[in-house]
């Protein structure tokens, strides 16, 4: 039995001088851990709390994405429901557009307060059966005077990254007409992009920014709403947390609204501190920089004893990382370094070329770096490199356990924050508890 397919070899890199093949479609039969275009679009738009996310297609896609993420809301919780046109055999034969129109009509008629924003996610077969989703959306907008935005995201059209892009386009589609019409007044403040408020992480970060005197204007899309999203164009700076999903949106906003952006990460002490300072720097106000320095220093001092407490029990342990995007992987490598641990296997689902370059520069030369890894490769390299723990998502957890590895859930379903200074304690504790659990003596 092979563990690495020929076609996959260029995406696996055991020597940092070599490049890596990434940003391409998954290899058939390789058992990729990736989801699809629809998934990418859905996860980015999902946290818009008062939007009706209607999945136009057969039931599966709606069923599997019903409330599976830990995005928190301070307002509506409409987004936690799953709406689907639940297409059946006859709809496939005669087309589903009528049912979609009827579904929107019914929603508008029966829902109080009446919806202001609807996203229509067209899944795999919608294009194939010839439904004109754009036309349905246009006529619904005209009929009800609300926003009905199509997100044509057939799973086969590319990778999850394309889905991110489609979501970003949908957000631009939402805010652009409003901005054109109302010419928003610029205000001093930032938008937070690419934070989905998992376990309240956006709230934590917003709290930091407010403490250093930086107002947050809009959040995209964690804990956002129709109304709050429309505020976004008036910001002076975008801070981009999940670069994989939202860097493109930041680009669009820069070219259309003249908003500069800065990439940030709030995982780990080093990245959190740097991010706060970078934001202050980008805003160019001395008093904010001073506050940021003071705040970051104070907070970092507070978490230091926590790290020091666990570090002796973690020092020298080896970590494997397999996460969605490259930016998160980079943060994790640094976080492990802070704990005296070493990342021996690093992979992502949809990392980008420049991110892999950074990853390669951060890990030891014999570490394995791989794009779009599959279970067979993870199994082989984690075993070969004698990893002690895997950081990953839900699907990877049972594999780690079967192989006798500890595991850290760094997924989108978690119910505890891992970002910011508050998240550091959770992260370190989780790593410690899993690696040093007495169960491994018997497993």
């Amino acid at each position: 039995m092979k563990t690495v397919l020929e076609e996959r070899k260029s995406s696996i890199c055991g020597n940092r001088d070599r490049g890596i093949s990434c940003e391409r479609e998954s290899v058939s039969g390789a058992v990729s851990q990736r989801a699809c275009v629809y998934c990418g679009a859905r996860v980015v738009l999902n946290p818009i709390t008062d939007a009706y996310h209607i999945v136009h297609g057969p039931i599966g896609c709606a069923s599997y994405t019903w409330d599976i993420r830990g995005s928190l809301t301070s307002g509506a919780d409409t987004f936690r429901n799953s709406f689907s046109t639940d297409l059946r055999e006859t709809d496939i034969v005669f087309g589903g557009a009528k049912k979609l129109t009827a579904a929107i009509d019914e929603l508008m008629e029966k829902t109080k307060p009446s919806p202001k924003l609807i996203f229509i996610f067209a899944t795999c077969i919608v294009g194939v059966i010839g439904d004109d989703v754009d036309a349905v959306c246009r006529s619904a907008e005209a009929k009800y005077g609300i926003r009905v935005i199509p997100v044509k995201a057939p799973g086969f059209a590319g990778t999850k990254s394309l889905g991110y892009r489609l979501a970003c386009d949908a957000i631009m589609n939402l805010i652009r007409p409003h901005a054109k019409q109302h010419k928003p007044q610029k205000r001093f403040g930032v938008n937070i992009l690419g934070d989905f408020n998992l376990a309240g992480e956006m709230w934590i970060i917003r709290g930091y920014l407010e403490q250093i005197g930086v107002p947050v204007i809009s959040t995209i899309t964690g804990d956002s709403s129709y109304k709050t999203l429309l505020q976004a164009p008036s910001a002076t700076l975008n801070i981009v947390q999940c670069a994989g999903s939202s860097a493109y949106l930041a680009e669009r906003m820069e070219s259309e609204f003249g908003i500069k952006s800065v990439k940030v990460s709030f995982f780990g002490v080093e990245d959190t501190v740097n991010s706060l300072l970078n934001i202050a720097e980008a805003l160019g106000r001395q008093e904010i920089m001073e506050k940021a320095q003071k705040f970051a220093e104070e907070q970092a001092l507070q978490v230091l004893p926590i790290i020091e407490k666990y570090k002796p029990h973690l020092k020298g342990k080896k970590a494997a990382i397999f996460v969605g995007g490259g930016f998160k992987a980079i943060s994790l490598i640094r976080q492990f370094n802070e704990l005296g641990m070493e990342a021996v296997v690093v992979g992502t689902q949809t990392g980008k070329k420049d991110e892999y370059e950074v990853i390669n520069s951060l890990v030891n030369s014999d570490a394995i770096v791989l794009d779009d890894a599959n279970p067979a490769e993870l199994e082989r390299f984690m075993t070969e490199k004698q990893a002690d723990i895997l950081v990953g998502g839900v699907k990877e957890r049972p594999l780690a356990y079967k192989l006798g590895l500890a595991f850290c859930d760094h997924n989108h379903e978690r119910k505890h924050p891992l970002a910011g200074f508050e998240g550091i304690e959770n992260f370190v504790k989780e790593i410690y508890t899993s690696i040093n659990s007495p169960v491994w003596k018997y497993a």
């Binding site: 058939s28 057939p154 799973g155 590319g158």
Partner: protein, 854 residues
Amino acid sequence: MLNLNVNPCKMCMPMGAINALLGVKSCMPILHGSQGCATYIRRHISTHYNEPIDIASSSLTEEGTVFGGEANLLKGLRNMIDLYGPEIIGVCTTCLAETIGEDVSAIVKKFYEQNPDLNVKIINIAAPGYGGTQNEGWFSAIRSILEQIEPNKTHNDKINIITPLISPADTRWLKDFLTEMGIAFTILPDISENLDGATETKYSRLKTEGTSIAEISAMAGAKLTLEFSEEKNSPAEYLKEKFGVPFIKLPLPVGVRGVDRLIEVLTEIGGAVSDRIKKARGRYIDAMVDSHKYNAQVKAAIFGEPDFVHAMVRLCGENGIFPSVVATGSATAGLRKVLESEIDMCKKFHFESDAQILDDSDFLNIEKACSELGVNLLIGSSDGRRISRKLDIPLIRCAFPIHDYIGGQRTRILGFEGSLSILDQAANAMLEKTESTFRTVLHSKFFKPKAEDKTESHPCFGEGACKNARVHLPVAPECNIQCNYCLRNFDCMNESRPGVASKILSPEEAFERYVKLKDTIPNLTVVGVAGPGDALANFDKVRDTLRLIREFDPAVTFCIATNGLLLPLYASELKELGISHVTVTINAVDPVIGAKIYKHVNYLGKRYTGIEGASILLANQLSGIRMLSSAGIVCKVNCVTLKGINEHHICDVSKAVAELGVFMVNIMPHLPVKGSAFEGLERMSNKEIMILREQCGANIKQMTHCRQCRSDAVGTLGEDVSIELREVEKQAVLQAEKPMLFAVATRTGAVVDTHFGQANEFYIYEGDESNVRFVETRNVKKYCNGPQCDDKGDRWESVIHAVSDCDAVLALRIGPAPERLLKENGIEAIATYERVETAVVEAAKKRRSSYGIT
């Protein structure tokens, strides 16, 4: 909704097909479609079973969709063979493959041609996502496997077992049970090991347990098939038609009838019932009896796949559980008939007429039915958790998928033990509910708060309590409604009516005020919050204030006054804070009349006017009062009589609130306030008010001693109606007008320089805050000789007697014992080292304020 599925109670066909393929030995599944299908299904399955689940995907691309996915699938098959080395591959189609019209069998044929040396059996399964649910996918996969694996028709002694999707633990039970009965069998699929595996030294990424190809082939030669399902696409029927294997269909072995039926069939074909099984049956029935009364309280909503739902309804029927809502996500018209007779039986036993069978349902409909029918237990997958949380109904998680708990692979419903696990969980859910609620339920239902001590001594609630003082702490500035008779921007020390306070206090300031007042007014027994806004619209402040005071004084009575808009929100917290009395102002119980009185109502961030506003206010007032009454809080309703607006409606108000358990009603005349919308309204005369009170008195106790006091009032309550009480009031006024007397312990007469206990004589002064006059000196027997104080009661008494007509005693120091004695006699003890005149003026000021005279 008709065109929109809201919160699906089903998954798609590929999900079921993959689940089935995972129970075949050395089988590796591949989904012919987009990458996402495989990933989503893997995520769902691995979370439920806590096992690594590898499913390949042909990862169809744009190009594949347009020109056909043949190349992708061919490559995928090759790659997965390289990586996993399976003996069987299940190619499962998806929405996409079916819609673009992929001919999978042709592609598979081509693959065999291209790879003649490979010894892999490839099964193709049609599973369009729109063609049915996971249940149809499960059976479709089983049928395809049977159809496509070379049959071995040689007769054998085994029986075939076909079930719907059951848990690995249940599968293990079924296998053990058959073995124990002495029956040889083949179960297809067998997920018992693959989806609930043991930790092994060497990890195998291919699932190596499950039904093997040889076993599947031999199913064609079996002597019988047992199929535990009503599914139309029946593998048993296929085996009969194709190979003449007879079959028996029976329900899942759940409950006595279900398991007995299985035993009966197995006995007929030569099985033997062991003692262990007999004992298990006996124990099960014993347990049914043990829990039958608790289970009779259950009104269940059962949701999930058809065979599961069917089995659960039968279990309910046997145990006196009422299945109020029975729902499947699949469109299974046939199920209704099967369920109806069972449910009818339950209806008869419970004298119930309402039960709903929902097929092709989503959770929106299930939730609606649960609310309508008063369901108190949910049975199904963890997808019911949102309803569980929203409607506060416990959920028994016993079907796929379970995502919020651990142990989905170990859930049991089959056999006596499995059935018992459900019964125990149901009974315990009821016991838990009873245990946690029966005290409050019975208290609120049967305990009628008597006019207890607190009520009798409360100056506003007890008529004979005028001597008791109260303080209104003005900590609540905001109001959430606007009454047309009210104007709250007033700030005048001379104005005395509700809605007026001269200064808003913070909780800490209010606490300080209370501590000071308590010191000077010994009869201060009640702390109230009566505005100047609404106590509940400022609840954070109220809460903080009362907590501080309660810590300092555990005995003081707490009351609040409110318009009632937020009562439902805070009722339980009021109880926790120890608030025993609440006054709610209700001026109308008819929103049409209310609309004339209330300009607007601000509720949950929105402003309502007119009838809408009045209706919201009224609904909350009434439900709030109901909650207070049931929590044992004494309620008084204030009702402002507005001439031409509500004077004919007052008795309706009294009657309505009497039914809610309100203790008394205070019908008040409207005090016209300049600048308010009703400033021009004529005031009701005292006589008219008296007549109203008399009329309404038939329904409910009337308060006749209200003084419509300020939001920062302090002291005793005056009154203006009862002649008897007016006399008391007059005396109080006389008392207040009478010059005050002060006893000063001084040797020189110039400065307060003597210890109270060492004073031979007291200088008696008379006066008020502007004018003091020396009256006389009074000699007392010296009763204290230095630090070793002889505190015999009679001596104390004589000293107290000497100063008994005084309002206060001023001395350099006063010991705690004499201070207490003085206080008990209504004499204040003031320690000071001031010039006598100055000290007396200060004392006079202090006494004035403590009398509540401003």
